[in-house]
Structure formats: structure tokens, C-alpha cells
């Protein structure tokens, strides 16, 4: 492993003085690039994610049909040249629905994980930085949320808010918050041990300044690793909520809804209704998980101290 990799790895664990911070963040991406080149699985995962993002962005260009347009006369048509992935229970083009579904899945994932991560990060930063009573109270609240099984909590939240995609996202976000806040808090606590933070405090720098400039950079690596894995989990939770009847509303083309409702109902008469959304879900989840692993390999110093 190259020398600058070693410094960067240290940078994640401890933390750089301000001048080095920018250099560190550059080298971190380089580090990722190097890891990706070394690890074909990671590279494949990154490629898949890129593909997913591109599909979502270009859905209206890529989709051969309107994903909502119904043609019941050609319902349950097997894959053919006109409909590469076949048609569903009311004659909609499955391929187009999968393509548009990438938007829903990414949207669910990004928003749920985004909100969950952001909220978790803020709580973690506040707790870790100020400690004291607020920390104690907030951490107990986080413990309390975490003590309730995630799926049950999500199910209850969605029931309360009426089931739809946005509320499923919110529910997932709430499930994510406690774990993230704890990771961030831990990272903040360890960053605070460092001399330059103490120095900054001694110099009378404002809290916000210290937080943003010195502490936040230490937190981003673990957060991104976790976020990547949660992106996959969010898709699975959304699918499971749909299975339990509380997910995305028809006719929205969500992969989870497609698999759990029509996919399962017509799984023998029209296996393509299950196979393609199922594949889409599995590939996306796999990609996010493997990418998370890759990030960890690249950025987590503990794994890389092999010299």
C-alpha cells in the first residue's frame, strides 16, 4: 500500500490540522479510487450504482413506454421484443416500470438515509461535542428508539401517518437516526481528544467553527460507509412494508410494491413480474452493500494497517 494511503488512514482516525484537512479530503477520494482499481467487486458495485443513478436521471428517455399507461388487453404478456420484460397485471410495460422504479428506490433510499444521516449526525455532533446533560438525555432517547425493533417501529409510524412512499421514507429515517448518532458521537469524542481541537478551543474559536472545520471531517468517513449500507437496507424495508400492506401506493412503480404484490400474486402465471423487480432490488442492495464494504476497505484504518 502506498505511503499517502497510510497517512490518510491515520487522518480518518485521528484528524489533521486545518491545512492538511483539504489535502486529506483529496487523498481520501484518491484512496477510494486506488481501492476500486484493486478490487473488482467494489468497482463492479460502483459501476452498478452509477448505472442506477443514470437510469433514474434518464428514466423518461430510457423507458420505452409510459410506466402508468394501462393496456389490460395485453396483460401478463411474457417478455417479447415489444416488451422486453413483459407486461404486468393491467398491461403496463414492466421494463418501463423498473426503469422508473429506480427513481422511487433511489428517492426512498437517498431521502430516508439523507434525513436519517443528517439528523443522526446533528444529534451525534451535539451530544459528542457538548456532552453533559443534553448528551445524556438525547442518548437515552436514542437508546429508547433503538430498543424498539426497526421494522415494528417503521410499521407503526407508517400506520399512523397513512401509508405512502414519503411516510415510508420518514419511518425508515427515524429507524436510522439512533445508530448514526451513536457512531458520530463516538467519532466526535475521539476527535476531541486531539491537540488541535483543544488548541482551537483554547484560542477561543467559535463552537460552530470547531465543529465544522475540525470535527466534521473526521465523521464523514464512518457516516458514508454506514449510509451506503443503509441505502440498500432502505430498499429492503420499503419492500417489506409493501409486503405487509403498508408501503408505496399503486400505481407508483416501486420495485418493492411490484415484487410483493403483483410479483408474488402472479409468480407462477407470470414469473417475469417477480423476477425483474426482484433482480433490480437484489442488484441494488448488493451494490450498495459491496460499495459500503469497499469504502470501509479504503477508509477504515483498522483494516488497512497491514503495512
Amino acid at each position: 500500500m502506498s505511503g499517502d494511503g497510510a497517512t490518510a488512514s491515520l487522518a480518518v482516525a485521528t484528524a489533521p490540522p486545518r491545512a492538511a484537512a483539504r489535502a486529506e479530503s483529496i487523498s481520501r477520494w484518491r484512496l477510494l479510487w486506488l481501492t476500486l482499481r484493486r478490487k473488482p467487486l467494489g468497482a463492479a458495485a460502483a459501476g452498478l450504482i452509477m448505472l442506477l443513478v443514470l437510469t433514474a436521471i434518464l428514466a423518461n428517455v430510457l423507458a420505452p413506454y409510459d410506466p402508468l399507461e394501462t393496456h389490460p388487453e395485453i396483460r401478463l404478456t411474457p417478455p417479447s421484443r415489444e416488451h422486453l420484460f413483459g407486461t404486468d397485471d393491467i398491461g403496463r410495460d414492466v421494463l418501463s416500470r423498473i426503469i422508473y422504479g429506480s427513481r422511487i428506490s433511489l428517492w426512498v433510499g437517498l431521502l430516508a438515509v439523507g434525513i436519517g444521516t443528517l439528523a443522526g449526525m446533528i444529534i451525534g455532533l451535539v451530544c459528542g461535542y457538548w456532552e453533559g446533560r443534553l448528551d445524556l438525555a438525547l442518548q437515552r432517547l436514542m437508546d429508547a428508539v433503538q430498543a424498539i425493533p426497526g421494522l415494528i417501529l417503521a410499521l407503526a409510524i407508517v400506520s399512523v401517518l397513512t401509508p405512502n412512499t414519503t411516510n415510508a421514507m420518514l419511518a425508515i429515517a427515524i429507524v436510522i437516526i439512533p445508530g448514526n448518532s451513536r457512531i458520530v458521537r463516538g467519532a466526535v469524542l475521539s476527535a476531541k481528544q486531539n491537540r488541535y481541537v483543544e488548541a482551537a478551543e483554547a484560542l477561543g474559536c467559535r463552537h460552530l467553527h470547531i465543529l465544522v472545520r475540525h470535527i466534521l471531517p473526521n465523521v464523514t468517513a464512518p457516516i458514508l460507509i454506514i449510509a451506503s449500507i443503509w441505502l440498500g437496507n432502505a430498499i429492503l424495508i420499503e419492500a417489506t412494508l409493501s409486503f405487509l400492506g403498508l408501503g408505496t401506493q399503486p400505481p407508483t412503480p416501486s420495485w418493492g410494491l411490484m415484487l410483493s404484490s403483483t410479483g408474488r400474486a402472479f409468480m407462477e402465471q407470470a414469473p417475469w413480474l417477480a423476477v425483474f423487480p426482484g433482480l433490480a432490488i437484489s442488484l441494488a442492495v448488493l451494490a450498495f452493500n459491496l460499495f459500503g464494504d469497499t469504502l470501509r476497505d479504503a477508509w477504515d484504518p483498522k483494516l488497512r494497517r497491514k503495512g
Binding site: 415494528i152 419492500a239 405487509l244
Partner: protein, 316 residues
């Protein structure tokens, strides 16, 4: 250490109280009502009958009184009856807990049996094709929704082998063979899901341990690679792995919800989710609090063990 234990136990109390408030609150603002569902689409219930039923079930009390009443019921270990079935919750739990315990325990065993060897293999042959293959197998467990895997397994078992686990739960003591026939397949599905996280943890800890000085020394001393791995590395690596497995309880329970539904097992997951769907407040509250208390206790035990192993933690 003694002080530390007291402090940690004291901290667990507000956590459980907060959990109970969250659960209680969520259940009360949910739309729909257990009583109307119970009547089975009769539409024949008058407001008067409904009011009487509510009163009998003490649903007419103000929320804070209902909450306090419930807290008292929990503390005195008499959680009352289900709104929907009228069955005492303790009776339901006594039947449901062994099912879920057996399912999750078997799932853990099967999951570990799959995950640990793959994890070790992956670590010792890092970045080789067998590493990739092993990781793909394990990680693919993460990428299947439980309900989909369960559906595939049961449908194709029926089509290809003309066999599915016998429906109609029988306890292990009643008939061990029938019971195992019922549990092995669902436990395997659930265990497969579980194995991914365990395998990843095994892989990374073994990797880490392999780089420790004493392992390298052992290696340098000329001990065979396999012996080094099994005798030194694995033993040390497994501690965090066990922690991860312990932490998977929540995941297992979520999986149990789906797997118990598909394989028709009368466990905690199905009991809880059906109770949510039927707005059976007392059952949901009691079940969730039971799980929360278990999780909190487990975490406490883990933390205390660490503190005992590593005195520095106590002074944080």
C-alpha cells in the same frame, strides 16, 4: 466497577420508560380501532354497545391514566388481555416466545455454520476468487427481501419435492421430528439472511487478528497456517463476532415477522405485527416492551462485560 454497574442499570430505566412512551403514543394515534374490526363487518354495533365495550376495556380513560395503568400492569407482570381475542397476554406470550426463540436460535446456528467458515476463508485468502465467491454468497443473503426468499422456497419445495414443512405448529417436546421438519427450512432462510453480517464481521476481525504481532510471530515460528488461523486468530476474532450476532436480535425479529407469516408459525413476530394491524394496543405494547427490555438488558450485559475486560471504559 460496582459503581459503574449501578450507574448503567440506573440509565437503563429511563430508556425503557422513554420506549414505553413512544410505543404507547404511537398506538394511540393510529387510525382504526380493534373493536370495529372484531365485529367482523357486521355494522350492527350501536354507539351504546361500543361505549360499553370501551368502558369494559378501560379505553375511555384519559390517555395519561391509561398509560399509568399500563405501566403498573407491566411492572406487576400482569399485562392484561388482548382486545381482539380476549386471551390473557401472558398466555399468548407463553405460546409465542418458544416459537420465536427456537426459530431464531436455529437461524443463528445455521447462519453461523455458513458464515464463520466463509468468513475465515475469505480473510485468509483475501482478494482471491474464493474470497469474492464467499463474500458474494454471504452478501447475497442481505440482498433478498425475506418475504421473497421465503415465498420462493415454499413454492418450489412444493412443486419440485412435493413437500413443504408440515403446517400446524407442534412443540419440540411433543414431537421432535415433526417440530424440526417445521423449523429447519424457515430457520435456514432466516439464517441465510443473518449470515451476511456475521460473515463480514468474521472476515474483518480475522483479517485484523492475522495482522497482530503474536499471530505473525506464530507464523514466523513456522506453525502451519491452518493451526495459526484456528488456534490463535479465530479464537480472538470470535469475540466481536459474537457481539455482532447478539446485536442481530432486532434484525432477526424483523425477519421473524415475515418468515413466521409465510411458514405459518405462531411466533412473536406474527403476533406483534397482526396486533399492530388489528390495533390490539395491549398486545403490541407488551410485546414491544418485552423485546425492548431484552435488547436493553443484552446491551447492558455486553457493555458490562467489556467494562470488566477493559477497565478504561469504566472511567469514560
Amino acid at each position: 466497577m460496582y459503581k459503574y454497574v449501578i450507574r448503567r442499570v440506573m440509565l437503563a430505566v429511563p430508556v425503557l420508560l422513554l420506549s414505553s412512551v413512544i410505543v404507547f403514543g404511537l398506538m394511540r394515534v393510529m387510525p382504526g380501532d380493534a373493536l370495529t374490526v372484531l365485529m367482523g363487518e357486521s355494522g350492527n354495533i350501536g354507539e351504546k354497545e361500543l361505549a360499553k365495550l370501551r368502558k369494559d376495556l378501560r379505553l375511555d380513560l384519559p390517555y395519561h391514566e391509561q398509560y399509568l395503568l399500563w405501566l403498573w400492569q407491566m411492572v406487576s407482570l400482569s399485562p392484561g388481555d388482548s382486545l381482539f381475542t380476549g386471551e390473557p397476554i401472558t398466555v399468548s406470550l407463553r405460546k409465542a416466545i418458544p416459537v420465536t426463540l427456537e426459530l431464531t436460535a436455529l437461524a443463528m446456528i445455521l447462519g453461523l455454520a455458513l458464515a464463520v467458515p466463509i468468513g475465515v476463508l475469505s480473510a485468509t485468502r483475501q482478494d482471491t476468487p474464493s474470497d469474492y465467491a464467499g463474500r458474494m454468497v454471504a452478501v447475497s443473503g442481505l440482498s433478498f427481501p425475506d418475504f421473497w426468499l421465503g415465498t420462493l422456497v415454499i413454492t418450489f419445495a412444493a412443486i419440485w419435492f412435493k413437500w413443504i414443512p408440515p403446517i400446524g405448529y407442534v412443540s419440540f417436546w411433543e414431537s421432535p421430528t415433526r417440530n424440526l421438519q417445521q423449523f429447519l427450512l424457515p430457520a435456514a432462510v432466516l439464517g441465510f439472511r443473518l449470515s451476511a453480517a456475521t460473515m463480514r464481521m468474521t472476515r474483518s476481525t480475522v483479517l485484523e487478528v492475522l495482522r497482530e504481532d503474536y499471530v505473525r510471530t506464530a507464523w514466523a515460528k513456522g506453525l502451519g497456517g491452518r493451526i495459526v488461523v484456528y488456534k490463535h486468530a479465530l479464537k480472538n476474532a470470535l469475540i466481536p463476532v459474537v457481539t455482532v450476532v447478539g446485536g442481530q436480535l432486532g434484525v432477526l425479529l424483523a425477519g421473524a415477522v415475515v418468515i413466521e407469516t409465510i411458514f405459518a408459525l405462531p411466533g412473536m413476530g406474527r403476533l406483534t405485527v397482526e396486533a399492530i394491524l388489528y390495533r390490539d394496543y395491549p398486545v403490541v405494547q407488551t410485546n414491544v416492551m418485552l423485546v425492548a427490555a431484552t435488547l436493553v438488558t443484552l446491551n447492558l450485559v455486553v457493555d458490562l462485560t467489556y467494562a470488566w475486560l477493559d477497565p478504561r471504559i469504566r472511567y469514560r
